[in-house]
Symmetry: D2
Subunit: 489 residues, 4 copies
Amino acid sequence: MSKQLPPAHPFDDDKLKEECGIFGVVGVADAANFLALGLHALQHRGQEAGGIVVHDPEQGFNSARRMGYVRDNFTSAEVIKTLPGNVGIGHVRYSTAGNKGQTAIRDVQPFFGEFSMGGAAIAHNGNLTNAAALRRDLIDRGAIFQSSSDSECIIHLMARSMGRTIPDRMEEALRKAEGAFSVVAMTRTKLIGVRDPRGVRPLVLGKLGDGYALASETCALDIVGADFIREIEPGEMVVISAEKGVQSHFPFRPQPSSFCIFEQVYFSRPDSIYGGRSVYETRRQIGVELAKESPVEADLVCPVPDSGTPAAIGYSHESGIPYGMGIIRNQYMGRTFIEPTDAIRNMGVRLKLNVNRALIAGKRIILVDDSVVRGTTTRKIKDMLLDAGAAEVHFRIASPPTAWPCFYGVDTPQREKLLAAQMNEEEMCAHLGVDSLKFISLDGLYRANGIEQGRDNSCPQYCDACFSGEYPITPTDMVAKGFELKTAG
Amino acid sequence: MSKQLPPAHPFDDDKLKEECGIFGVVGVADAANFLALGLHALQHRGQEAGGIVVHDPEQGFNSARRMGYVRDNFTSAEVIKTLPGNVGIGHVRYSTAGNKGQTAIRDVQPFFGEFSMGGAAIAHNGNLTNAAALRRDLIDRGAIFQSSSDSECIIHLMARSMGRTIPDRMEEALRKAEGAFSVVAMTRTKLIGVRDPRGVRPLVLGKLGDGYALASETCALDIVGADFIREIEPGEMVVISAEKGVQSHFPFRPQPSSFCIFEQVYFSRPDSIYGGRSVYETRRQIGVELAKESPVEADLVCPVPDSGTPAAIGYSHESGIPYGMGIIRNQYMGRTFIEPTDAIRNMGVRLKLNVNRALIAGKRIILVDDSVVRGTTTRKIKDMLLDAGAAEVHFRIASPPTAWPCFYGVDTPQREKLLAAQMNEEEMCAHLGVDSLKFISLDGLYRANGIEQGRDNSCPQYCDACFSGEYPITPTDMVAKGFELKTAG
Amino acid sequence: MSKQLPPAHPFDDDKLKEECGIFGVVGVADAANFLALGLHALQHRGQEAGGIVVHDPEQGFNSARRMGYVRDNFTSAEVIKTLPGNVGIGHVRYSTAGNKGQTAIRDVQPFFGEFSMGGAAIAHNGNLTNAAALRRDLIDRGAIFQSSSDSECIIHLMARSMGRTIPDRMEEALRKAEGAFSVVAMTRTKLIGVRDPRGVRPLVLGKLGDGYALASETCALDIVGADFIREIEPGEMVVISAEKGVQSHFPFRPQPSSFCIFEQVYFSRPDSIYGGRSVYETRRQIGVELAKESPVEADLVCPVPDSGTPAAIGYSHESGIPYGMGIIRNQYMGRTFIEPTDAIRNMGVRLKLNVNRALIAGKRIILVDDSVVRGTTTRKIKDMLLDAGAAEVHFRIASPPTAWPCFYGVDTPQREKLLAAQMNEEEMCAHLGVDSLKFISLDGLYRANGIEQGRDNSCPQYCDACFSGEYPITPTDMVAKGFELKTAG
Amino acid sequence: MSKQLPPAHPFDDDKLKEECGIFGVVGVADAANFLALGLHALQHRGQEAGGIVVHDPEQGFNSARRMGYVRDNFTSAEVIKTLPGNVGIGHVRYSTAGNKGQTAIRDVQPFFGEFSMGGAAIAHNGNLTNAAALRRDLIDRGAIFQSSSDSECIIHLMARSMGRTIPDRMEEALRKAEGAFSVVAMTRTKLIGVRDPRGVRPLVLGKLGDGYALASETCALDIVGADFIREIEPGEMVVISAEKGVQSHFPFRPQPSSFCIFEQVYFSRPDSIYGGRSVYETRRQIGVELAKESPVEADLVCPVPDSGTPAAIGYSHESGIPYGMGIIRNQYMGRTFIEPTDAIRNMGVRLKLNVNRALIAGKRIILVDDSVVRGTTTRKIKDMLLDAGAAEVHFRIASPPTAWPCFYGVDTPQREKLLAAQMNEEEMCAHLGVDSLKFISLDGLYRANGIEQGRDNSCPQYCDACFSGEYPITPTDMVAKGFELKTAG
């Protein structure tokens, strides 16, 4: 309902977008400082806005929500001093499905609710697949929604619960929710973490001084100097206080776990640990598998920076073909750079990436990228390399073809915009005009994740719906809107 | 004389700082668009401020000068439309020696002067070694200085010249200047470029559509889609107009060239061409030389991101030791992040870099960095790696020990702050507490620059004063202030 | 819960504060333009924040809420174009009782609710005297409050109503509300206005081109060129659409009217018509009554600018003593001027008012002010006049002693801070150190309002609780908190 | 050369504009605080920009220059702490003749120059009538101008002086200057004030604690609590230091004084003392004279707020016709309010003034305004009054017809835009469509200024060129550009 951010750079449009990062701390002085740092480390999970809520016994609940980067909004002493307290949660977000691509400030989490037993704030990463149905029902029963966010459904369900404590109410509310959700919440004294029964979205626990931290990724524990204890398990709820430590229980009906495999491919930072594995090492191993599955004679292996780098290193290790920086990234690129005029756009400007001409000229190049979504960037990069005199351009993609949208908290284009939903590998190769194009196989991807026998097709070890079209959780709202699920066989 | 920018991040303090990037265009519609793009590509040469001056026959001279990044200041249609014209120059800067480390907006180039034959603007990269003497003399003769910038000396010298044209006056002015200077200037219709007689600072020429561009580096030509023609030669002055093209002459007494070798080591972007060589390839070759000169048994070669990357690749290529990303950089780090409290600082937060623990643990690591200035960062990185469980930490440095300050347009600490001015290699190794520390030799550096026979000690092919203490141009002002030159022998 | 505005100037602290102004239009193109203008004319009723909601058939509901002045927030074409539509409402506010004196952006009206039959927005001027009780009950029943505003109670009551239309729901909701409220609300096509059964707060209706406008005061009709039709009557609800015009009904149990008499004294702009009378003329007549009731020999009658001006003119007319500007106001004073240091504060600076020394020196001065609240300003002005050489200083106050707090939408100090709650007229005169101090009598005030027979003590024609302590509507929440009503007799 | 401020409100366009206010202090701690306060009190003399320069023995010279109001730019502790020192000067400005109506930040005074004997800053109020000639000559001799301001000429003349002290150089420079100038300047320890030989623009001296202050008007002394000592005399130069107090001399050839009479009419604040007279009392006396010269039968005397108020009071006093507020000013009007659309503009909105309909309707109104420049406002106000039902509208103007432009530091329209340059009184009356229109006579104006015998036509006691066309100082530059002086007789 208000100001729209400038469009992100075109090159970024050609990636799937994780929608959120969450962070919470309890039992530490000046919680807001840690929240700002943790959110900064999770900035790659959401760049449009961020929010922090803290509680102090004297000052009560205080919050700040801002459009833009954590480093620009939450690091001044002036802001931090308005956020006193030893417990708090924070959130960075990408955008909202519901709000026509705009992020209004009223949609910026955490959300806060005042209940008869006291206030609570909540932030989540993920997407409720039955949020539209829940919302419709709540409005019919007199709920006033202030945002288009799924989190607000949870707050309203909590408000109508008869539970006597806030954790009880949260349990009751989340049992009505379907979909993917990792949640951090807080009361005046407690930090709460919940991961959905399938554990689609990540959530990890760390020890921070005398207190605790919950985070989307371990890299956020590293930045505050917290020790990584373990991942929150699928279906687990932890209630943490300075006095009683971590209390764990499992309020949901047990289900097979379905961790998002795209976290391994692209979303998580390479220095994070996810599902017990180093994300960097998994990506490097994807490169190794790719080199085994799809070798090609060439002079140089280059990453598409920065996300293709670990797989390119792995490809080079396995193939013995030298690794080099064929494409250089402009490190001062930000989301606010707008290509000024058509005139310039047509002269072939490169705002974000430049080809290392001297290295590329005359060489047969293997380019390793993490994924192909619309294919628009792939084509531009190929053009840039050929302009610079590359002899051959071979693409190796560190994920299988992305043919299906994600409904679990990831911003994906509509299915018809996904190149792999329209064409097979050969058609894509011809369409993109590259000398060869190979995606890693689903089994190869599972092997790179340490599952030697490959994917268990009867009950896949990960959620890989974006590749396979097999959705572990029925996307209720989308089906109601007419989305056609893949037919069996 | 006014607002001070927040301190840059501590880690950046431990690098030498190029002070400026310059860019100019003539003969193209909407010059300001190209200027904004070119300056964006040169942002690594100066992040504190930027300025653009353009001329339009109807609107006259217009300018904008702002503190901060090009992408934040010069990309909105609103700003660009205030800058009409087909000829213009621009500048990005780091800071000023004279102004106690602050950059006041009045110091932001380009500088403009109104002469009896019309206006001219000028921007330069470099440092006049006799600026203080020139300034004192000019003030005695009634000149009013508005800034602490050397460029303003040039404008005043031009104002007092009896030359009949602006290029004539610029020639006369620059003949009085000593030191390192690459200059772009403009009149109402002409773009002018000058490189000092030794060519210390870079300047390149490109063809941009029907017009021309001058830039500090070729990467700025690439971003606007200009074709690289050639470098401006040491001592050359080019006067370029849409009608008459490029007119070249050599107004200065010829001298041996002394290109800055640190451009190859660190300042220039790896995708630029400098002194006829690919900067990336030179850096990779430095890694190769380092591996030859200072081999060590280890499990992994890691760059200190991002400047150590090409040399680390080269070291891996030569040594056969696998290359990996042992340190991950937070890409959302900006200059404005302030560590909020002592409490947090002491908990070991890492705002900018994080160790890839899973990769590092138990391994013998070779870390390749571009240079060691104060040594503060080197020590912190060593600590981070040991904390993460590295078995051994070996540093290999892609430049010789930096033992002397630069007076040619680079921000260097005072000599006593340079670690290499206080200790030899072994002492530094002990001081930093690493398992080994080796710098490339001066001859190795020259070989990596394609000079097989190594450095010509009687007349070095590059300016390497920061390593050797041999200053090709006498630093007049500094000597007057008591700086002691290295004694022969 | 967030950023606090700088403290208003001390001199302004010594006035009662109207808390809100409201404005609405329907049936006009570019409603937002008219809303901005109308709110600008009502700025004296609330300077801390403003909000606008509009509805357009294609763009739906859009809103903007900002801290600060209307002229600074809502006049740029950029903002106005984000607010398309032919129907809309707006609000300016002073601050919130509930929120510890801070105005958080989330408290800025209008409030918006999405109901099953569509959205509605609501803004009000006044105060619900049973808001705390309503809120507690709503929270118990699962309502999530986003603000500390009374308006949100109304929205929640509407959400839980079973009424089939929005006006029906509003009726039902307002029947549960007690207190003073003038409300403007909107649906997708209708503008709604309601005034509480006693009509405590003002609301007027105007014809604006082919459409209509509702406003707190007629001066807001004047600024948009609307013709004043009539006041909304106490207990009246009007539902206005472009098609059906104004439909009026009276949903509440009839009660005697109790218009706020302080609107005549201070809140309303002098060019407004209120209760059928010119506010200016009423104030001038107060001056006439004061001169009759409390004459004094003097040389000059001066207003305390600007609110004392009409009464001072009236006093001069009646007494024959010349009128003059003994105190000059700095017209560039704003709310943001902060007295920088103690040093300066103690040197007697006058940021807002200055004495016209040449006029004052040696003269006997009658100063006419609208009211005395804490008395702090009165004392400072007296000091300034004596410093400037006044021979005598006589205060004449255009309202009776303000001895009781208002609970109907006016920000009043606690009773113990009100000078007149502590002292009688003679004691105040001694306390303030003035030569004489006289307040108008209650009967004189009624006479100045055109009621020749004076106040009807059995059923006062106005609400004058702040003077008399007789509250026409029981302040339920305050009594529950322990406020002691005046005992009869 | 850069950002343009929004256009001021149309109503303000119909006034002459004083171009500057100046203020300086010496010998007081935290000079910047006093400068901010003093400039705030002088804000009516220039609203577009302000600047402050201070000197501190340790921190040297520091300055801040900002577009906008003093209260918004110079009152935060953050800004004030960047401006340490016990001596300083400040300036508020309206706009520049030379710069096409824009005020660029580079034109914001004070100007600073570094001389061989140390730095100096200077700010002035007025206009050099030979500035263009001086500038042309200085440029020919190699001066680089950074602004379009006359002050910069003075700085350059000082730079080229051979004088041994800064006061000496200033003397020498100002002896070359022609025109109207009141100057405040500062060195590291001294405050300097100069008034041109005819004293066209005002300058007053005050005692501020242990130090001194110089100001354009006494109201700026009042705000800081300084005691008014005396006016600086025409042609006087004072050099003031904490140690030696005020040293006075008269460096210029003596000339008859020619104080600007328009300061009495409009520019100065009514609470200031100018030329030994109370500005308020002079204006009131103008009203008295007007009532004597041009009586008319009427029901009410109203000021056009706020500048017509004292004269309206005087008219009422003399005529016995009651005084009233027929026009109410919106006190929240600022310079930034932009009328949003044509639609609204055509509906007759009144952003700044509103008629007090209830008072006006059916009455014969005498409106007293300070001056008529273009006449556009006069006509609008007449229309508003007739719309509101006034029976007759008589204008009485507190100055003679403004028929000639001012070249002494006042922004006047070109002569052909001045209504009084095109028509005589009767023609104006017909043109404006008012029932009567009378200006005070020149002699009446002199009488109101205490000169009983009226104007001395052989040697007028004031500069009244804007009324008489008799310029006491030849406007050299303007004559060179073709301005035709009034022919004798």
